[in-house]
Amino acid sequence: MNICCRALWGAVFLVVFASAPALSGKELEAAVSASLNCGVSSSVVEEVERAARKGAGKEDAAGRIIRLLGNACRASLPMEMLERKVAEGLVKRVPLQRIAVFLERKVADYEFVRRLMETVGDRKPDEQLRRAVTVMGEALASGVSRKELQDMVFAFSEKELPAVTLGVEFYSYLSLAGVNRADCMRILEAGFANDSLTPAWLGFPRVVALAKRRGVNDREIADAAEQALKEKGDVKSAMMRLGFTSRPVPEPKE
């Protein structure tokens, strides 16, 4: 997501948040009760309540966070990452208002991915779908745009959902490592065309990051990965093409 989009989303949610009516103590209690009844983590809810008690005017944001978690739970969205991000924000002393805005965006991303899955086929709400929503939602948070995600899902829609999920995850890691989008897609297409993209390839972006530090450019990286994938090779074969060797690291002594 580019900076303009982020700013726009932020502005939209800030306006929505600012215009929301303040929650009373009873409303907060009701939100807490409803969330817990659905199965939202009690420790996360307690932490949010505790943070709300530390300062005046925080109850509204706390209530919004708890209501968002409860709504997401009732909508059968994957809760693990949402709860984890709330815990992360709290331990980092992020203001509750900002956590609430983030959470709204995250839930919106999850709903977008789920709708996208529904448009490409009969995707039943099972574990594969939950994982796809989580992984693709994370890809959006990592900077992959909704348009890119949509293009990828449509382009590889004949593949099984776990394979598409793996592909999106791999693509987002490659872009995190700084590879330009065209080369990311070239590597991904080579993996799908040859059915050679395995979960072990998720370790390749770390090689990419180190290779780029050594001055290897995107095209050389993409060439090495593409060739290895065409030959149904593994990450090590791509590493060797980039001039690296792998070595085992012994377990640290206690």
Binding site: R84, K85, A87, E88, G89, L90, V91, K92, R93, V94, R98, I99, F102, R105, K106, A141, S142, G143, Y173, L176, A177, A200, L202, G203, P205, R206, V207, A209, L210, R213, V235, M239, F244, S246, R247, P248, V249, E251, P252, E254
Partner: protein, 192 residues
């Protein structure tokens, strides 16, 4: 008992032995001695080889056949289950967990506490305090993680969030900062 025994020197004893007349042993002596000796036992391999190369005959009762079949099925089943489980968790790590060390440099030991918090520990700072190792001037935390990718940061003195300067990958945390990212491979081998 008389005390008039003569004492012989070694040389005298040798001379007496040499002076004994030679006699032909009786014909039965060799065979009698050989009878008292046990046959030389051949080695395990030689016996096994002999067993293999000698025609054998086996007899089975139906009950023994059934028992032997059940035993074979059970052994093959257990071996299959173990093999499947090992292939699921990756080579070399029976529990599927990979040793991972986090380090934070502090040569002057100017910090009171450092914790590593991340997606692998539910962002819980209390349970993941790092230990200072004066010999290397670093805060260290060792753990074992399942294969996967994890976001983390260091929490210094309980309030300051610091990204890992040694991490090669980082990710926007959505709150205006960046998290370090660690990719843990499943075969107990870090890349590079």
């Amino acid at each position: 008992m008389s005390n008039d025994r003569k004492m012989y020197s070694d040389e005298e004893i040798g001379g007496l032995i040499r002076g004994i007349p030679e006699m032909t042993p009786p014909p039965w002596l060799a065979s009698r001695i050989m009878e008292t000796l046990a046959d030389k036992r051949s080695g395990v391999w030689a016996r096994f080889k002999g067993w293999l190369t000698t025609p054998q005959s086996f007899t089975f009762s139906p009950a023994r056949m059934v028992f032997a079949s059940l035993l074979i099925v059970a052994v093959v089943g257990v071996a299959g289950m173990l093999g499947g489980r090992l292939s699921e968790v990756g080579s070399g790590q029976p529990d599927g967990l990979v040793p991972v060390s986090f380090v934070f440099k502090d040569p002057a030991m100017g910090l009171k506490s450092v914790a590593v918090v991340g997606s692998f520990n539910e962002w819980n700072a209390e349970e993941n305090q790092m230990k200072y190792v004066p010999e290397i001037g670093m805060w260290v935390f060792r753990t074992r993680l399942p294969a996967g990718d994890y976001e983390y940061v260091f929490l210094v003195d309980g309030e300051t969030v610091v990204q890992d300067p040694q991490s090669v990958l980082s990710k926007d945390d959505g709150f205006g900062n960046r998290n370090s990212v660690i990719l843990v491979k499943g075969d107990h081998e870090y890349l590079l």
